[in-house]
């Protein structure tokens, strides 16, 4: 963050020409990663070194997260043994925290694909150092979401009945069921994201192979598939990444649309909303981008990646978050105003519950965290360049988006057309599994960060080669070469 930007309002800042060319170049280099090239071996070292470092703090976090995951596994075992009765689920409320977790964690996963695929296609240059960290979050968010669906099942040992496998009894899954679509969509998205992250990893795995010994060397040698970095390999790599980016964008949009159809296709009041598809995607991107900012802040500090993750990246992500906050508000307003205008008695009951019922604190906290806090604070450049403040805002966004899903799933299903059958949901042992789910994402991320490079070195090198400075008159302007 240079003095140039914050200390004066825009109309009082010195003109570009007032600086000498030297200072201009220096300022641009400090601000932009792609204009601040280092030698490749330095960069390799910066990325690989934190992977070997396992200090006591690491082991403390490792044991804590591992313990939480173990606790969740034991609770799940108890649930399989005794039945779903150990949760707080009851008759009108059949879907509780487990499905809130599913929707939430799939949502977290959306930002990764968006950043690495959509921003790649749109040639947004600052995405380069973030893409791998975001994709990794996609991978583990999605896995945890898929796991939550299995935890949610009453008879999980029969879950393979969802697969269309040939069998003697000629049973076939029901393709009319949104759950079936959901299952297939998540499976597709998961396969796609694994391949996509792997494709992007290939050159870096080869780099790691050439710089390591022992088991790491053997592992990377297998995973890098004999990558040598020839011209032809790079050409194929670029083509396949481009194709993959275009393919995975519609898959990403379809997944959360289909997740929303689990609700929108039902006749439960509050769920059967036609706007749920785009609304869920927006919400997913919103919570996902906020989660990526939190992860960026953590790995920047813990793995000393200050060189790679700079103010420009946090600023870019925060602007994106601001746009998404307003887009979310637009969809939420739509989803609110139409049923309100429709005036169905049961919708009135639901709105009363949100405005002045027991759910009111949750509802207002959701509006505060999703709209008012980011919507007001993120306009400020000072807020966008302060990482701690940004992290606090992003944590609020996580709370808000979790609450949004909580209000939709267990709170709304507690109200229906027959007042005799209303109910409330008080989570019980599923809170432990929820806690463990969050720990699981962090735990897998932690393990991943020790085995795989979290910063795509080849992408940054590519960007730095393409990016240059052009002198126009007395000003230096960043310019970018376009590869074929």
């Amino acid at each position: 963050m240079s003095a140039h930007e914050t200390e004066h309002p825009v109309w009082r800042r010195p003109l570009l020409e007032d600086e000498g060319l030297e200072e201009q170049a220096e300022r641009l280099r400090r601000r932009h990663l792609l204009l601040d090239p280092r030698f490749p071996w330095e960069m390799n070292d910066d990325v690989l070194r934190p992977m070997y470092r396992t200090r006591p703090t690491f082991w403390v976090i490792f044991v804590a997260l591992g313990g939480l995951v173990l606790m969740g596994a034991v609770t799940w075992g108890a649930q399989i043994y005794w039945g779903l009765g150990i949760t707080g689920l009851n008759r009108p409320i059949n879907w509780g925290l487990y499905l809130v977790n599913t929707v939430y964690f799939i949502g977290i996963g959306h930002a990764g694909t968006f950043i690495s695929a959509a921003l790649r296609v749109l040639k947004v240059e600052w995405r380069r150092p973030i893409s791998r960290a975001a994709e990794t979050l996609t991978l583990f968010g999605l896995s945890t979401a898929a796991l939550a669906i299995f935890i949610h099942l009453g008879r999980v040992w029969k879950a393979y009945w969802l697969l269309p496998y040939p069998n003697q009894r000629q049973l076939w899954p029901n393709w009319r069921s949104p759950l079936m679509w959901d299952f297939m969509a998540i499976l597709t998205y998961m396969t796609g994201s694994v391949l996509f992250i792997y494709l992007g990893l290939l050159p870096d795995l080869a780099m790691a192979r050439d710089h390591t010994r022992g088991w790491r060397h053997r592992l990377y040698a297998i995973l890098s598939l004999g990558w040598r970095g020839t011209e032809k390999e790079w050409a194929y790599h670029k083509t396949s990444l481009d194709i993959f980016s275009y393919i995975i964008i519609p898959v990403m949009f379809s997944v959360h649309t289909i997740v929303s159809w689990d609700f929108a296709m039902s006749i439960q009041p509050g769920w059967n909303s036609t706007i749920f598809g785009p609304y869920f995607i927006l919400g997913a991107l919103f919570s996902g981008v906020a989660a990526v900012i939190i992860v960026m802040a953590i790995i920047r500090k813990a793995m000393r990646l200050q060189y790679f993750l700079r103010d420009e990246h946090f600023n870019g992500m925060a602007k994106f978050l601001l746009i998404l906050s307003f887009a979310w508000a637009y969809f939420y307003f739509n989803d609110y105003i139409v049923p309100w205008y429709g005036g169905e008695p049961v919708m009135k009951v639901l709105f009363d519950l949100f405005h002045r019922g027991w759910a009111a604190p949750l509802w207002f906290l959701m509006l505060f965290s999703n709209l008012f806090l980011p919507g007001i604070a993120l306009w400020s450049r000072r807020v966008r360049s302060s990482i701690p403040v940004l992290v606090v805002i992003c944590i609020f966004v996580q709370i808000g988006m979790y609450l949004e899903r909580y209000l939709i799933i267990p709170v709304m299903s507690g109200r229906n057309e027959l007042p005799f059958d209303w109910g409330t949901y008080i989570p019980r042992l599923e809170t432990l599994i929820t806690l463990a789910s969050f720990a699981l994402v962090a735990f897998l991320y932690l393990l991943f960060s020790r085995v795989f490079p979290l910063i795509p070195v080849w992408e940054i090198l590519e960007g730095q080669i393409l990016q240059g400075l052009k002198r126009i008159g007395r000003a230096l302007i960043p310019s970018r070469a376009e590869p074929h």
Binding site: W82, G83, L84, R155, R176, P178, L179, S413, E417, T424
Partner: protein
């Protein structure tokens, strides 16, 4: 002999219902419906395939209780059926029953969410039948395990038995021969059961040209097979 297509239908006369809940008890006994503990009921997990919903009408002191027996409506266009990924909730085409195949249920609970009448019951635990209830389980009905959804079947075991008996005797099934447990036990005969495709049956006569008839939440388009006859002050001569 091929069995004819049927439309099993129930008519519930709300003028006759006293809310005594004998039907609930009979249903529990007939269908091995688990009797859950008081604590579980307080958690909202009471399991009654038929229940009496009691609504208070009017302002104090002029308050009246209205009773609404609610069981699975065996919808012609059932919201629970298309949402089950495992085909556990399906429509029996010939009898127009909404059946639940316990063995095929994997417990996604989507059907229960999508049921506007909330008549589907999930087994949160394995059922426990305390002494001496374990001595009177009905051998014709499966006891459902934990993790499985269950609901009213219109006593399909009784339908089968009556049909088979008629088949064995080589005669068509008579109206009134199939009596579900709730219908058989109702002291005021508020519940009537029969085949709506049979133009002579009692349910057809009650449903046809009856200004009192209505179906629950009909605006949702579920085509329920349970008809209610309005009671109380809304009484209209038939």
């Amino acid at each position: 002999m091929e069995q004819p297509e049927r439309k099993w239908t129930m008519v519930i006369d709300l003028d006759k219902c006293t809310g005594c809940a004998a039907c609930v008890v009979a249903c529990h006994a007939e269908n091995n419906v688990p009797i859950v503990t008081a604590r579980e009921v307080a958690r909202g997990r009471g399991q009654h395939w038929i229940r009496i919903e009691r609504y208070w009408v009017g302002e104090y002191p002029d308050v009246k209780a209205r009773f609404l027996p609610i069981l699975c409506q065996h919808c012609g266009n059932a919201p629970c059926e298309p949402v089950c990924p495992a085909y556990a909730s399906i429509h029996s085409q010939r009898e127009n029953l909404n059946v639940q195949v316990y063995n095929r249920c994997i417990g996604t609970r989507y059907c229960a969410n999508n049921c506007p009448y909330k008549v589907r019951f999930f087994n949160h635990f394995d059922p426990v039948f305390a002494e001496p209830l374990d001595q009177q389980l009905n051998p014709d009905v499966t006891v459902r395990s934990a993790g499985v959804m269950e609901k009213c079947t219109f006593c399909v075991q009784r339908i089968r038995r009556a049909e088979e008996k008629a088949l064995a005797e080589g005669r068509p099934l008579d109206d009134g021969e199939v009596v579900p447990a709730c219908v058989g036990t109702c002291p005021t005969s508020a519940l009537v059961f029969g085949d709506l495709y049979d133009p002579e049956s009692q349910v057809t006569r009650l449903v046809n040209h009856n200004a009192r008839k209505f179906r629950l939440l009909e605006h949702l388009g579920t085509e329920p097979a349970v008809y209610y006859l309005k009671g109380g002050s809304s009484h209209v001569s038939t």
